[in-house]
């Protein structure tokens, strides 16, 4: 397996793999850099770089797109989703981790489906129902729609986390005289906190970036930043490109701040791998 000499073929192969990866990353940064550069450009036509740099687009974007209102709406929705996902998801995860009850497999399937079926597919019937019931286009409707994937996500992330907490710790707390409430506050909550924090941060990042469900259920006053960005790009030509790019940068910064915070607590692979890919050791 390990040899001190590597053959030419394997060196070439390794080189090719890394070259591909680096090529991918360069393009990725190119895409991001293009948006950022453009947002600061005075005029950028038929050239490698803009004629000059300015910050005026941020001020015009802020006014044109009402970014202040958008940010407030976005965070109202996102924090409501985060709070409700935790409130509904964590106790459910606790029950799933600690009890074996008839129909548990069906519940598990019910939790997996909203994560496996893409948002567009279930978003259209969901939006239909919400509009029929008068919730379509309201902020409450957007929050409800976003809970569909986030609650199962929290549950599936938390189940293995709770399973690895020894139930005897809870039993011990009871033996030493803690009632259910004090056991929860003094024993369970501190043990659960890292997992809750990690899963809710992931929910937060995912909800800021969740386009499809919000797009399908939001009205003019309940749009989040990413949906407004979509409409701005969709109607490109109405406004200056740099202004749209400025908005994109605002969106990017909003997301990345939370991503950086989230990455302090979670492994990047957790952003895509759901609960089941816990190492088997």
């Amino acid at each position: 397996m390990v040899s001190n000499e590597k053959s030419v073929g394997s060196r070439l192969w390794i080189f090719a793999v890394w070259a591909t990866t680096i090529f991918f990353i360069i393009n990725l940064f190119g895409i991001i850099a293009a948006v950022v550069t453009s947002s600061f450009a005075t005029r950028w036509l038929r050239a490698w770089f803009p004629d000059g740099f300015t910050t005026k687009w941020y001020f015009s974007a802020w006014a044109e797109f009402q970014l202040g209102d958008l940010l407030i709406v976005t965070f109202q929705i996102v924090f409501a989703v985060v709070f409700l996902s935790g409130l509904i998801g964590v106790p459910a995860a606790y029950a799933m981790a600690r009890r074996n009850f008839p129909g548990k497999q069906i519940v598990l399937l019910l939790l997996l489906l909203p994560l496996l079926v893409p948002p567009v597919t279930f978003g259209i019937p969901l939006a239909t129902v919400l509009y029929k019931s008068g919730l379509g286009g309201t902020m409450f409707g957007v929050i409800l729609a976003n809970l569909v994937p986030t609650v199962p996500f929290v549950i599936l992330v938390m189940i293995p986390f709770i399973e690895q907490i020894d139930p005897r710790v809870e039993a011990a707390a009871r033996v030493f005289g803690a009632g259910t409430f004090r056991m929860f506050i003094h024993v369970l909550l501190p043990l659960l906190l890292p997992g809750v924090l990690a899963s809710l941060l992931l929910v937060l990042v995912r909800t800021i970036a969740m386009f499809e469900l919000t797009f399908l259920t939001a009205g003019p006053t309940s749009q989040t930043l990413v949906v407004a960005l979509y409409y701005a790009v969709f109607a490109a030509g109405v406004r200056a490109v740099q202004s749209i790019d400025a908005m994109a940068v605002v969106y990017m910064v909003t997301t990345l701040i939370w991503l950086v915070i989230a990455l302090r607590f979670v492994n990047p692979t957790q952003m895509v791998t759901r609960a089941k890919q816990q190492p088997a050791h």
Partner: protein, 356 residues
Amino acid sequence: MAPSLSSFKTLRLDGVSRDFGTVNALRDLTLNIERGEFVALLGPSGCGKSTALNCIAGLLPTSRGAIFLDDQRLDILPTEERGFGMVFQNYALFPHMTVRDNIGFGLKMRGIPKAEAAARVEKAIETVRLGTQAHKLPGQLSGGQQQRVAIARAIVVEPPLVLMDEPLSNLDAKLRLEMRQEIRRIHAGLGSITIYVTHDQDEALSLADRIVVLRDGMIRQVGTPEDLYARPAHLDVAEFMGFRNRIPAKLKTRSGDAVAIDVNGVLLQGIAREEFKGDDVIAAIRPDDLFAGETNEGGIPAVVEAMEYRGRDFFGSARAKDGTELFFRASRRHAPGETVALIADPARLLVYGAAQ
């Protein structure tokens, strides 16, 4: 092509070393092992024994040194061309292959014709007594059975060298004793070299023809089990081999290896195991060779702290005047607080220099 079993005589490790960054995990491992020998690498965790095994197997590149099988240099070959057999600590059985396919994997990789391979696999299955399990997947076997598959998989290719990395550490005590005998029997039938890594001195003593004690990446002592048991070369080896009593003493006289030492004013006879720098020495002795006499003559006086019944005799702990804790054997129960004289067997009292 992999070295074949029939042609070799000696495995030679010449200054094999391995650094991790600036840490020398293994320093200058030099050892000649003859065909048919069973060698145990013994030491506490972190002593470099697993590093040594992985370097020999080629799973870790060596930093310096060379490995020879007769005249063929092996350390420059990748693992798959060395042709050794290895039994891993958690067995590393291929979970998607049946017992038979697991055992036959090495033969398949060597391109052995199917009929011959099948026959050899059957023979190996028989050797490890797994006849009825051959069609099962590893996940369906018990720990002991998995262990047998791992051994069969390693020996079926008839390697010149079988490496075993703490193979018994995941088994319960009873199964461990049983598998020890199995391993010894299989080794005897194979006629190859076995290098066996363990931290359990009982295992090493009962299995090996020769034991290599490692500490901090260096060889501390090489010897037969009898050598190591009776005559550890260094104090740390002695402690590792069960010399629980370390008694500070003053050197009185020395002629050859025979020494007389003073322990709290009591004169004791012992055997020197190394050269001393000053006259501060440490006497080491097993609890079983230090017994509470019936009279108070000629022994180290100590106050009994606790006694426990062992069936045949009693095992006790006591404290000497200078505060040294002593473990001893007794033929009757002494009350805590009672003063006893602990008599050391002079042939088993080993004396080392204190400056360590």
